[in-house]
Amino acid sequence: MPDNDQAMRNFVGTLPVPEFAETAFTTPPPLRDARVAIVTSAALYREGTPPFGVPDVHFETIPNDARDLKLGHVSPNFDRAGFAADLNVVYPVDRLAELAASGVVGSVADHHYAFAGNQPDTVSEVRLDTGPACAKKLRDDGVEVVLLTPV
């Protein structure tokens, strides 16, 4: 069995990455009081909506109760069957609901968001346009903590 994971780790390790002069840091409220959302780069989208393209810089808005989700990230180089069996392994929305029910997190956002992980190399759209736009939607929803999940 070829080790695709290690091959990809080696390959990605050679790619240039965006540089940030400093690391912004926002102190969160206690988790038990915080409103939490998921943002994934798995390019999830709902039944009946167009699939992500290649490349694709837009993001999808996913209602918290939506489960009719499709895996839109086009890379063939990751395990795609895990999501087929259990979407929580990529998008742990049911786990968040359980944490909210038990009081570990304050509340779960009304909406979550999905980007495509395969962005143009400069990621300028995410830095300057879609990222800030998504941040505004999160803040408008009262979100304080964002869990980021890739594939």
Partner: protein, 227 residues
């Protein structure tokens, strides 16, 4: 993910990223990262294992208690593909000898796919080819695998994405037949190594690449490690 972490944090949100490729986080310095040594595609580790997923989330959310960043922590449990057991998943016997074996196989597996959709209430199949047309699309890839020019079988510009729908069709039904995906990459391994259609896609990919087909047309047909 690391770029979004920087952007969101600058906008007044607190983030924690679960990152399976540690090297990227080491170079990008996002505010809070939980590095996980899991197979790619499984950031929460184990499908169908809520307890394990909660351990990952607990480790991630614990990083929110750190007073300053960047913070980069490692999840203590690793999941390695070499530990994965083969998927126990049979393929149907030949039914119609007049069909290509891959087409016959795909049609024979349709009932399992339908059960998977009924169980999950969702499917990723259909992004670029409808499930009712999957078998016909496999037949077109089989013609490429048998030597016909890749641009003459009528698969269109999105043939790489069509190939992904075919892989997804098999992996979703495999999860149904085996009552789960097995270990990491087990369904992928079953598809490419045990099914007629998997073999067709690999051969079509090889021929398309050698013939100079557009990158996305052949690259998406299998993981790069199967070249």
């Amino acid at each position: 993910m690391c770029t979004l972490a920087h952007v969101f944090e600058a906008a007044g949100l607190s983030t924690v990223a679960v990152v399976p490729i540690r090297n990227v986080a080491e170079r990008m310095h996002p505010p809070r990262v939980l590095a996980v040594e899991f197979p790619l595609g499984l950031p929460l580790g184990k499908p169908g294992d809520a307890e394990f997923q909660h351990r990952v989330l607990e480790a991630a959310f614990t990083l929110l208690e750190e007073p300053a960043g960047p913070v980069l922590a490692d999840f203590p449990e690793a999941i390695r593909t070499e530990d994965s057991e083969p998927l126990q998943c049979s393929v149907p016997p030949r039914y119609d000898p007049n069909l290509h074996p891959a087409v016959d196989e795909a049609q024979g597996l349709r009932a399992a796919y339908d059960r998977a959709v009924a169980r999950n209430g969702r499917t990723t199949v259909g992004s670029h080819v409808a499930v009712d047309d999957i078998a016909a699309a496999i037949g077109k890839f089989a013609r490429i695998a048998d030597g016909e020019p890749w641009d003459g079988v009528g698969l269109g510009e999105s043939m790489g994405r069509v190939g992904q729908d075919i892989r997804t069709y098999y992996e979703e039904l495999a999860c149904e037949l085996a009552d789960g995906p097995g270990g990491p990459w087990a369904a992928e391994r079953w598809f490419y190594e045990q099914t007629e259609t998997g073999k067709v896609l690999l051969e079509a990919r090889r021929r398309m690449r050698e013939a100079g087909a557009p990158h996305l047309a052949w690259f998406l047909l299998s993981p790069a490690s199967r070249e």
